[in-house]
């Protein structure tokens, strides 16, 4: 049995979580998931500004902080902290923790290969719309293929203490150590699916140990010291999800089921670079306090393609708010919204979308929200999105004047006029598997 713990559900997750996982009990592997789609375009921009950047900058200081404990307890780290510059990330880790052996997985970053793909007739059609990538060629800011668990296992086989990947899938971070430790083969799809589903359960950190849990959330103990998840993985593909003794939170059938369904899609066709996992085969059983045993998992052959995520500059947006107090807070906010729209129309400004919501009334759920006849206050938020930056900028000047020249009791505009933000959008596509050759390097 090996213990694989996830200490980071996204870049920006709790800084103390990975430290506590290493200090508060036994683990063999610490995995850390840093990359969301939006992260790739951010790190690509950072690399363009400074060739020594372009990775998750929280990661090297974390490793520096826990390096001695990692060595002492023989804990190995697998993280997709490399962004678009895994080698630079590895060098910074080596600078802060020279006693650790560090390996990187390369080959997922295809930003420089896009024109070559297009020239050879690989259209990289948008999976949702079917449009060819040429439509947005000029606006691309990053392009990465999602890679699976086997390159990570190959990196672990070098004996590295720390493995840094770029755009590996979240679930591969958990499956990689299992492939390495148990010698699972690329055609053992039930086992690969089991490791993948274990990875899915822990990939959002504490979201499987009581965080964001709807079931009986008021009774979940000690959120302040919530324990992050640990997979106790067996060579036969069964595993237990648990957390360190004495930590807060909860591992129960309810917390695990909620996370199994999170962003799941079609449960019988959970497609990864390594296999297609079937979530309808999962069997759960309680296995003592804060322990859930998972078994029965089945999988099928991987597809001939890898997913590529391309980010590109889509346009601009801005969103601003004003708060109105009771009485008649919602009516005032709606009147203010109508005034803003009339003024934008009078200026001849057009947008792809103008969207208004009423916080305190129904912003999250629309008509599904319970009706409150007299809310104490309502916050109007108006947003616009469009290709024309000047039009979006002009919009940002139309909200604050309402405090003086619109309905009464407008307040809460203290942050000044809203800022214009770039909208970076994502273009999902498929690429034949043999176009992506990964390689492992040990960084000295």
């Amino acid at each position: 049995m090996i213990r694989i713990a996830n200490g980071q559900g996204f870049w920006g997750d709790w800084l103390e979580a990975p430290v506590r996982l290493v200090e508060q009990g036994p683990i063999d592997y610490l995995i850390l998931d840093y990359l969301a789609e939006v992260t790739m375009s951010i790190v690509q921009k950072q690399k363009q500004a400074d060739p020594s950047l372009g990775y998750a900058r929280d990661f090297p200081p974390l490793i520096g902080r826990i390096a001695a404990k990692l060595k002492e307890r023989r804990v190995r780290v697998v993280a997709n902290a490399g962004g678009v510059n895994p080698v630079a990330c590895a060098r910074e880790v080596k600078r802060l923790a020279p006693e650790l052996k560090v390996a990187v997985v390369l080959g997922d970053d295809v930003y420089d290969r896009v024109d070559d793909f297009l020239a050879r007739g690989l259209e990289l059609k948008n999976l949702d719309t079917g449009e060819p990538l040429t439509v947005i060629r000029g606006q691309i800011s990053s392009a990465n293929a999602y890679i699976g668990a086997f390159p990570l296992a190959e990196a672990l086989a070098t004996g590295a203490d720390v493995v840094i990947a770029g755009r590996s899938t979240d679930t591969a971070l958990a499956l990689g150590p299992m492939v390495h430790e148990f010698g699972w083969r690329a055609d053992q799809y039930d086992l690969l699916a089991a490791g993948t589903i274990a990875g899915h359960i822990v990939e959002c950190g504490a979201q499987c140990t009581g965080g964001n849990c709807i079931a009986d959330w008021q009774t979940i103990p000690d959120f302040a010291n919530i324990g992050y998840p640990i997979i106790e993985a067996e060579p036969d593909g069964t595993f237990v999800i648990t957390k360190h003794h004495g930590t807060g939170g909860r591992v129960s059938l309810e917390t695990i089921k909620e996370q199994l369904l999170y962003e799941l899609g079609d449960p019988q066709n959970y497609i990864t670079p390594d296999c297609v996992a079937d979530f309808t085969s999962v069997r759960l059983a309680e296995d003592g306090p804060d322990r859930v045993r998972v078994s029965g998992i089945q999988g099928r052959s991987k597809t001939p393609f890898l997913k590529v995520s391309v980010s590109y500059l889509y346009g601009y947006k801005a969103q601003g708010t004003i708060v109105y107090s009771w009485p008649d807070a919602l009516e005032k906010a709606k009147a203010a919204d109508a005034i803003v729209r009339a003024r934008l129309a009078a200026l001849g400004l057009t947008f792809e979308e103008i969207y208004s919501e009423y916080f305190g009334a129904n912003a999250c759920h629309g008509i599904a929200a319970p009706v409150n006849a007299q809310p104490a206050e309502v916050m109007l938020r108006v947003g616009v999105r469009g290709k024309d930056k000047k039009a979006v900028d002009r919009f940002t000047r139309e909200l604050i004047p309402l405090v003086l020249n619109g309905p009464p009791t407008g307040t809460g505009y203290g942050d000044g006029r809203p800022s214009v933000r770039e909208v970076v959008a994502y273009w999902p596509a498929l690429i034949p598997r043999d176009e992506i050759q990964t390689r492992v390097e040990v960084v000295e």
Partner: protein, 110 residues
């Protein structure tokens, strides 16, 4: 009798681009058939009204006593494009759990 869905189920929601993914789970296995009967794609779409622009697709997970819903065009463009506060649909499960369902008193208490 009519009760909110939250009486027999919990859940979690998130996003896949512009698609809202809502998982609904029966607290007890014996209530799974009630979920299947009461929480149809048509009722989910009607419950959220204009918030869901496209269709609603339902998947069954009897092994977990759960249903998974994909609500297309439900997140205002999704991801970074969306102008909605809940651009990732994080609160949609809570919203659906507020939907009233019809259940026999016997089904509820047995």
């Amino acid at each position: 009798m009519r009760v909110p869905l939250s009486r027999i189920a919990h859940g979690r929601s998130g996003d896949k681009g512009d698609t809202s993914n809502i998982g609904i789970i029966a607290y007890e296995d014996r209530w799974y058939p009630v979920l299947v009967r009461e929480v149809t794609p048509e009722r989910v779409k009607a419950h959220f009204g204009a918030l869901i622009e496209g269709r609603v697709e339902r998947f069954e997970l009897p092994n977990l006593g759960a249903l998974n819903f994909l609500c297309y065009g439900a997140l205002g463009g999704g991801g970074t494009l969306s102008l909605r506060i809940d651009a990732q649909g994080k609160t949609m499960a809570a919203g659906l759990l507020g939907m009233e369902i019809e259940i026999d008193e016997r089904e509820l208490t047995d």
